[in-house]
Structures are given as structure tokens and as C-alpha cells.
């Protein structure tokens, strides 16, 4: 559904490996966890706490709050504001924890 364009600069962007819900995901320096997850083909970042509908990012800029994920078992955070980092453990925001 999403792919990354080749880097045009002299130095290719640094790549990082992190985890979403136990699976390995590749991300690049400067991009958000949300962007990396979309490219990885993740089908939903969370199931909506009211109707369990699968949700993916809508606005990518911190406004819509659809991209909520849990980082290192912590509280829900907006994945579109979270930079990718090596070894990050990210999981779906679920149930009541989906309300930050």
C-alpha cells in the first residue's frame, strides 16, 4: 500500500529495526513510527475501544489521535509524533489504554 522512494541525497538515511506487536519493522532516520508501520503493511494500529473497528492514521500530524500505540508497555502515544529508534518496542493501543 505504501513504499519508500529511493534516497536522492549522497548519504542514504540510516535504517533502524524496531518491533511492532512482536514483528520486526524497518524504519529510517527522521521518519515517524506511524510512517514506518504504514509501509510495513500493518493493517491496524489498534482496535477502536468502542466498536473494535481497525484504525490506521488519518492526519499524520498529531491532530486526529487515530495512530495511538503503546511504547514499551507505556501509555498510548501518537505514533505520528514518535521518531523511529533502534530496538523500540511498540504495540497496539488497546481497550481503555487507548485513551491517553
Amino acid at each position: 500500500m505504501f513504499r519508500r522512494l529511493h534516497d536522492t541525497g549522497h548519504v542514504p538515511a540510516q535504517s533502524y529495526r524496531f518491533q511492532f506487536d512482536g514483528r520486526d519493522v524497518e524504519g529510517f532516520a527522521g521518519e515517524s513510527v506511524a510512517a514506518a508501520l504504514l509501509r510495513a503493511g500493518v493493517t491496524s494500529f489498534r482496535l477502536h475501544p468502542i466498536d473494535a473497528s481497525p484504525r490506521l492514521p488519518y492526519c499524520m500530524m498529531g491532530v486526529c489521535q487515530e495512530c495511538l500505540v503503546c511504547v514499551e508497555d507505556g501509555p498510548a502515544r501518537r505514533a505520528c509524533l514518535l521518531p523511529v529508534a533502534e530496538g523500540l518496542r511498540v504495540g497496539p493501543a488497546t481497550g481503555k489504554d487507548a485513551e491517553p
Binding site: 500500500m1 536522492t8 541525497g9 521518519e31 510512517a35 481497525p54 492526519c59 500530524m61 486526529c64 489521535q65
Partner: protein
Amino acid sequence: MRPSIFDLVIVGGGPAGLAAAADAGRAGATVAIIDTQQEPGGQIYRAAERRAGQGDAEADHGARLASDARAADAQWFVGQSVWQVTPGLQVLLGDGQRAQRLQARRLILATGAYERPMPIPGWTLPGVMTAGAGQILLKSARTVPQGNVWLAGNGPLLLLLASQWLKVGVKVRGILDTTPRGSLTRALRHLPAALPAWRELMRGVQWRAALLRAGIPWIPVEGGLEALGSDRIEAVAWRAKGRRQEAPAEALFLHHGVIPHVRLLQAMGGEMRWDRRQLCFAPVLDEWYSSTVPGVAVAGDGGGIAGAAAAERQGRLAALAALHGLGRIDAATRDARARPLRRGLSRSTCMRPFLDVAFPPAADLVVPKDEGVKICRCECVTVGRIREAMTQGASGAHELKLATRCAMGPCQGRQCATTLEEMVVACGGARQPLRVRSPVEPVTLGEWAGLAGN
């Protein structure tokens, strides 16, 4: 520990914020600039510093603004969200784990705009996003959609995105244009005033021509825009020439204008006005971009949609006013420096009336006809539920919010307040913005508690 004091705290690192920071810093004021993103640039200059030096004039300009702000010794608070500003201008911000307080003598809110909500059936399906999201993915993550990609809505941003994608080999299956019939004709009387910006207008024409040459269908839509699918979008439907049509879709990007994002100002009690041409609420501001809240100015799209070039100039004007208010420059200096900025400002905004009238949102995309449409994404509140609450006696946006939980979810009404407010007006109610209260950004109890001892 007392909070750090800054002459000027700027919330928002886009063109308005960066320009204000550079000018104020250069004049010797202590400046803090706060942004939720990790990199400066706001939305339009996303990742500008990373993208600079590769032949993209827009990115180069954004990078220049950022480096000017850095050179002026502005103190950066990146990855931080401001959830509250007290009447005494104490700024509370956090990054989700740790919070801090800054004391401002003057405040400039340069928080920009976000997309006007476009509630269509299926808009909460995975794969339905805003055109802005498409640009953010392209600029900050070099990421583009593939497969059957559709654009729907209206406005220059839609055109721009389609042509930016075309340049990198992404050909959308079609553009579904929701502009109400007769809009361009109504806009023509504003064209003479827009002519000084003929270069920008020509750019729009060129984008459109490039899309035509590439064979991308431009489909005027009468209504019935829908995203179809079960766990993600699978098709897009619309009505054109009296007939319902459908096409396979893996991604749908929506856009029908942007609206000011100034929740901090609203939470502080800043007065808002209804802009009849832009069809949105905007802050009441004077000629120096000062709001009705003492010491607080709003520069950039947050004060009313005017674009990046205007935002920069507004930021510089607001900085001048702040410097004068702080006693760093006298009124004569302030006014002299303001003159060329104001001239530039009227040049950069002369196109606005034409654009606003040429690309208004369609009525059924402001208030959906379909009762099943979720107008509140966060709390899953449908048009039907709002109507039911109205018949049960709830009147006004606030009562409807209490009765249905609309606008009570994580986004706090950013995606549904405009729709709710319009539904109230459509039923004869007064037009009023839904009340906004702090915290206006998510904050954990841990962050809050961590502030208590400081």
C-alpha cells in the same frame, strides 16, 4: 525550582514561528520555540533541513528559516506539546514522559491549521487519510501510496499533492472534485485582486495541465462520496452525471480546505469570530496579530488561512509588536520595520479571496446527509445519534456533546466540532465554537504530578 523565563515563547515551529524567533532573537530577546515535531518546519516545511540542497526550492526556503532561527539563539523544545497556558503566561509542556514549565513575558501562537473534517461514509476505514497526511508521508518519510489511489475534495492542496506524486512516479486513479457548481463563476469577481499573484495562479494551471497530460481523470462529483470496505478501504463511490459510480481503491486521500488550529487561545478565553468567506472560526486579532488575551498574539494560518508566505510576514510583525511591548524597540522603529512587511503581506494574501470562493466545501460534506456517518471518530457518534439527541431536547453544541459524548474523545472535537456546530446552525441554533478547555494536548498524570514539586 522556578520555571525559566523567556521574553518570548513561540508555540509552533512552522514559517510564522521560525520567522518570529529569528527576528526577536536577533533583536536580543530571549526566545523559546516549542513544537510537537522533532524537526522545525511545521507542516509545509516538513523535514526541510533534511530535504534541503537537492533542488527543492520550498525545502531550501524552509531550511533557511530554520537556520535563521537557530542562529538567533532561540532555545528549542522539540517533540513537546503545550497543553496549557495560564493567564499569567506560564506555559506547561511535555513530551509524554516529562513535563516542564516556562514563563513567558510574551507569547506567540503559531500553531497553524489542520484539515477541515470531511465526514463521509467509511472515512474511519484504514487507508482513508487526508491530503496533508499524503504530503507528510512524502516529505518526512519519502513514502508514497501504491495501487489504486484516489484523491477527493477540492482546493489547491489536492492539485499540489497529485502533481508532487506524479513527479515521483505515482499516478492517482482519479481526482474526485467536490467543488459546488458555480463556485468558479462566483470567484471571478475576486480574480482582478488576485492578479498580482499571477505566478502562483499560473503554477496551479500548470499542475492541472500536467495532470491532464498524464491522463489522470478529473471527475466533478455531485455528491454521494463514500469509502467502501470492511476492514480497510476497498472501493470509492460517488455520484456524477446523475449516476452512482464506483471504483476499486486501496487508498483515498481527502481534502477540502484547512481551518485554524488555535485551541490554546480558545482555552485561554481568546475571542473568536466567524469568517464568512473561509467558513471557519478564526481568532479576533488586531493589526499586530494580538489576540484579545493580553500578551498573546497569533501568527500564521492559526489566525486565519493565508498561506506560508503570509505566515512568515505575520510572524515578523507579531515579533515586532512583542519587542515593542517588551520595551526593546520604540514605536517608530516598530512601525518603520513593519511597513515593508505589510506591503509584502498584502501581496501574499491577494489571492486568498479568489481561492476561498473558488474552492468552498460542499454542503453535504460539512453536514453529511447519511444518518449512519460517524461525525465523531473518537466516540463513534453518528449523524443519526446527534439528531436523536436534538429531538430529545439537547440544544446547542455543548448540550449535544454532553448527551452523546461527541467531542469527548482523544481528539477533543478537532474532527467533529465543526460538523456539530454546523448541525446546530442548520437546526436554527446560534453559531458558536464548541468550548475548549485545557489540557488541549494529551498529558499523563505522571507528567502533571512531576510538575507539582517544581
